[in-house]
């Protein structure tokens, strides 16, 4: 069942030890009223660890590295989220983490066979279209949320993995060129551009401009891998033209952006600490207050600031656990999406899929971390797996499933054609006899 049981066991113990050390820190340095809260948190985290190890034994995979990284990061985020403002198990976040693990399995199963998923492109495009219609019809007035009463859903999040799948391409697809006038056109590339443009317009309409860079990164990675295939090198001219076009579009976008967006782009946070600069200034103060090693789990003040568990979660972790720990967590997320560098994808389709996932993750992390620390405009997007948010968790889990799939793909052999029964050859001599 497991190729290398020793390595598997070691990885299990490593993840358990890491979570154990964090829980130990919560017990000794944390801010809690009753030890029961710590015990409950420990039971949830370690229980989920052990359950997932057992579950993994039933999966047939070449490698489990991504799975171990995923459970490590997810339960770390459970510990973080459960400590903000005092130790108490964050049940909501715990459930969304389980949902992310399930979503990862679904993503893995759907994408491990590249031929099959490639043949479903029209369904992927349709899925994006349906989500757009849902956004237009079911969300509030120019909003991005569907309020179900007991929970809210952000449908635009679900477009991200679908766009990654739409951007992923195989060698065969790129060779399917059609001559139109004097151009060799791949119809799928034209469709993809249309989808991307409509997504951007929809995000603009929904006032969810923070997600546009993520979609742009996914599309950009996809386009780069399309225009450079099969034999063409990275054409400097093409890249320069694309760069200039993006620059011009960015300038136009800033010019046309609503006033509240421009205020955010150019705000001097230290001159507006109670207005547009409130969250960032508080976040930076919290990071400074936390120092390298933090004030202790549950001992921060940032938990009183709006969106401390999502948009400025990097600062909240820094304050309570220290900048060193917060940086380490982001690096672990980087390692998660960097695994295709160590264990290369088995097909070009999976390779382009991994690039899309990497683009989505790094850009989202950059927008969140650098935005909350005032290095770039504050957008209010989430850090995958670390920030609170069910829609983000599920889609991030699905995308990590794609990376798992790229590491343990399935290459179904084409069914052999039925062989006709050989007709007995009658020799001349036989006839003669």
């Amino acid at each position: 069942m497991i190729d290398n049981p020793f390595s598997f066991l070691f990885s299990c113990l490593f993840v358990l030890a890491a979570h154990g050390a964090m829980l130990f820190n919560v017990f000794y340095n944390g801010n809690y009223e009753s030890t029961n809260q710590v015990i409950l948190l420990a039971a949830a985290v370690l229980g989920l660890d052990i359950f997932y190890y057992i579950a993994m034994l039933f999966f047939k995979q070449r490698t489990f590295t991504v799975d171990f990284m995923l459970i490590l990061i997810l339960n770390m985020s459970v510990i973080f989220q459960s400590c903000f403002g005092g130790v108490h198990l964050s049940v909501k976040h715990f459930i969304t983490c389980i949902a992310a693990l399930i979503s990862c399995r679904i993503g893995y199963n759907l994408t491990r066979d590249h031929r099959w998923i490639c043949s479903k492109k029209p369904y992927i495009w349709s899925g994006i279209g349906i989500l757009m219609i849902v956004i237009l019809t079911l969300t509030g007035s120019r909003s991005m949320w569907i309020d179900l009463g007991f929970m809210t859903i952000q449908p635009s999040e679900f477009i991200k993995p679908l766009l990654v799948l739409a951007c992923a391409t195989s060698v065969t697809e790129q060779q399917d060129k059609h001559k139109v006038l004097c151009f060799n056109i791949v119809w799928e590339n034209i469709i993809l551009f249309g989808i991307f443009a409509v997504i951007c317009l929809l995000q603009w309409w929904c006032r969810d401009l923070g997600s546009i860079p993520t979609f742009t990164a996914i599309y950009g990675a996809g386009v780069l891998l399309r225009i450079c295939y099969p034999k063409a090198k990275f054409s400097k001219k093409t890249l320069a033209v694309a760069g200039i076009a993006v620059g011009i579009l960015a300038v136009i976008a800033i010019k046309l952006a609503p006033e509240y967006v421009r205020d955010r782009l150019f705000v001097d946070i230290w001159n507006d600490t109670s207005g547009n600069g409130y969250q960032q200034s508080q976040a930076l103060i919290a990071i400074a207050d936390g120092g390298w090693f933090g004030k202790g789990p549950g001992k921060g003040f940032l938990c009183d600031v709006f969106a401390h568990e999502s948009d400025i979660v990097f600062a909240t972790i820094s304050e309570e656990w220290g900048l060193l720990f917060a940086v380490m967590v982001t690096l672990m997320l980087l390692i998660l999406v960097a695994l295709p560098l160590i264990n290369p994808p088995r097909s070009y389709y999976h390779g382009t899929m991994c690039a899309g996932v990497c683009a989505a993750f790094t850009i989202q992390m950059a927008l969140n971390v650098f935005g909350s620390c005032n290095m770039i405009p504050f957008t209010g997007v989430t850090i995958p797996f670390i920030s609170m948010g069910g829609s983000s968790m599920v889609t991030s889990g699905f995308m990590i499933g794609m990376i798992v799939a790229s590491q343990s793909p399935v290459f179904k052999k084409p069914k052999p054609k039925k062989k006709k029964k050989p007709v007995p050859v009658q020799t001349q001599r036989g006839n003669q006899s």
């Binding site: 207050d289 980087l334 999406v337 560098l341 290369p344 390779g351 990497c358 950059a366 650098f370 290095m375």
Partner: protein, 451 residues
Amino acid sequence: MKSIKRCQHIITLFLLIFIAGMTALVVKINKEASFYMMNSNKHMLGMVYDRNGDVLFDGMGIGEYEDNYFIDVGNLIGDDKGQMENTLVARNIEKLNNYSFSEGLVREGGKASIHTTLDHYANRQVFNAYMGTKGCTVAYNYKTGEILVCTSIPSLDVTKGYANIADFESGTLISKAMYGTVPGSTQKVSTVITALEIMGVDKLFSKTYNCTGSYINKNGDSIDCHFASGHGMQNIQQAIENSCNPYFAQLVADPDMPLDKIEKVYSKLGYSLNGAEPTYIDIDGIECETASTVLTDTDDFNTQWGCIGQSATLVSPVQLMMWQSAIANGTGVMTMPYLISMSKNVYGDVTELGETSYSEQIFSEETAVTVKQMLLTNGANHYGVSIGGYSVGVKSGTAQVKEGLEENSLLVGFLDDERHPIAFCIMIENKFNTPVTTEQIATVLLNSLCK
């Protein structure tokens, strides 16, 4: 395989960009963490000392001090309560905070401190010499730029807090030396410098004008002399010693003093002209106003009156003192004043040392030497006795304020002594209501600093 490598290159590109950003972020936070903390309400301030190690501000609250011990520097050194913004502590609170990113806030044993160039003893002597009269005095070493005395009355003892802030007198929370005031006849020094720059020494000294007690300009406006019967025919040396308004009005109206050239020299001296954006001198973060005036027409009353030191002309005492340095040094280059000689971080390591710096040349050496001699002559002839026998170059002034209801008395000058190169500006408000004179303050000042 080659095509899959291409995918890996794209992944590597995204990762590298993010890692570069994270590196920049960590460096930025490490560098600016102290600033972030200063924008919170969490401080653990250190001490501020004078040049001899005497405490000027106790951020830790560990010492015991007699009543009003800090009052002479209250509105210059300030505190962290947010009531005074343009003070040494408020503008350098980051340097004074016992905080480091590694250690966090150090509540006990932090060694963050600022060592100033001030002489607390001299400052207190000068403050006491005012005997409650409002005004200010600023003095510095015109060779090095170290501010030695800077006191402003009324002031406050910051240790007593702001519970009775409503009862504070106007001007209590600011150091008046940093703000523009009507310079009166001390402005004539600028006009002499301007005339010398435009005409040269020989031509200016050849100019004589008659003072009959008042001068009617081309527009029919009258500029009166403080000496009603008039000074008669005078040259520039006599006019500056007599502080004769009609002489200077005629000098400004002289065809050899074209407006554009006056504006050029005034601009070089640092004046904001005709409503232009005001400029500031940065003294370790403290903003100090420079000078401003209106120059429209050399035959116009307001222009002539402005060049004599009234009308719309405003100059800060610090700026008046700095011009004295350019004269006293004989270079036409101002020595820039500074207050912080050294600052130490939470571990007691020196993080900053004060350095002497200079302005660009604002007038020629020849002008500087000439004006220096003129002021020394004025000092020797009129102030030799009243300012304790010191060899000083000075110019006094009387400034009409509050629409002529009150008059302020000013004295700018320098001590011509290699061992004690001190330039100063002294101002006393509403001079008719006080027995204190600028000469008395100057004597106390120089006695304290040359002790």
